[in-house]
C-alpha cells in the first residue's frame, strides 16, 4: 500500500513530494517555496518545507536514512552548510550526499531528496 501526498506539478509534470510504503518514506524533489532568495534563504526555506513533510509522515530528523542535496553550483556549498549545521542535531546528524548540477529553473539553487525509515508506520 503506497500513500502519495503533497502532489503538485513542476512545469506541468505531475509528482508527489511524499510517497510512503510500509516503513519507508520518500521525500522527492523538495524545493524552496520562495526562489527570490540567496542560498541561505533558499536552504532554510527548503529545510522548513522538508520538516513539514516529515511531520505529516510522522518521522523525525533521527529517522532520516539518506539525504541527497542537489546544489545548482558548488559555490553555494558553504552557505548551504551554514544553514544545514544550524538545522541538524549536532550530536546525531543525518547521512548526507551533496552533488552539484543545474536544476530545472535557473533561479532554483537547491533541491532535496530524502528517504526516512519509520519503525511504526503511521495509521
Amino acid at each position: 500500500m503506497i500513500t502519495r501526498s503533497h502532489t503538485e506539478t513542476m512545469d506541468g509534470a505531475h509528482r508527489a513530494l511524499l510517497c510512503a510504503s510500509g516503513p519507508w518514506v520518500h521525500f522527492t524533489g523538495v524545493q524552496p517555496g520562495n526562489l527570490d532568495g540567496d542560498i541561505k534563504a533558499q536552504a532554510s526555506d527548503v529545510l522548513t518545507r522538508l520538516e513539514a513533510l516529515m511531520a505529516d509522515a510522522g518521522v523525525a530528523q533521527r529517522d532520516l536514512f539518506t539525504v541527497t542535496i542537489w546544489l545548482k553550483d558548488m559555490r553555494y556549498f558553504s552557505g548551504l552548510n551554514a544553514v544545514w549545521n544550524g538545522w541538524v542535531d549536532s550530536a546525531d546528524p543525518p547521512a548526507r550526499t551533496c552533488v552539484s548540477g543545474e536544476l530545472y529553473r535557473p533561479d532554483l539553487l537547491l533541491e532535496i531528496v530524502a528517504v526516512a525509515y519509520r519503525a511504526e508506520p503511521a495509521a
Binding site: I2, R4, T7, M10, D11, G12, A13, H14, R15, A16, L17, L18, C19, A20, S21, G22, W24, H26, F27, T28, G29, W70, V99, G101, E102, L103, Y104, E111, V113, V115
Partner: protein
Amino acid sequence: MSIQKSGRIDGLGPKIFLGSAAGDMASVCLTAPDRGADFVGQTRDILAVIDDLLAEMGSSHDQIVAVQLWLADIADWPAFVPLWNAWIDPEAPPGLSVVEMAASRRDSLLEIRAWATRNPGQAAQLPDQAAE
C-alpha cells in the same frame, strides 16, 4: 532468497544489472539502449525497459515511489514532461527530481533511476534462481 537482479548488461561497457530487488523494494537505473534515438526516443525506450524489468521483479510502474532523472542538458526538461505525464498516473504520481549531470558520452541524453515497491511472490523465476 537475497537480492534478485534483472536486466544483465554485457558488452564493451560496464558489466552490470540494470535492476535489483530485495524484500518489497525494487530499483532500476539505466541510460537509453539505442543512443541513435533522439531525446523523445531515448526517453520512451528507457521507460519501456523500466516497465519490463519492474514486471520481472514483481513490480510495475504504478508502484513507483520515487524517480531520479538526470539530463545531460537541462534544456531537454520540457520535452520530458509530456512523456512523463503519459507514463505515470496523474492522480497518483510518484516523486520526481530532475538535475543536469555530465553523461558518459555525448549521445547519452538522459539517465533514470526508479524506486518501486513490489510483491516478491509475483516476481519472475529467473533461470539461475529457479535452479536453486
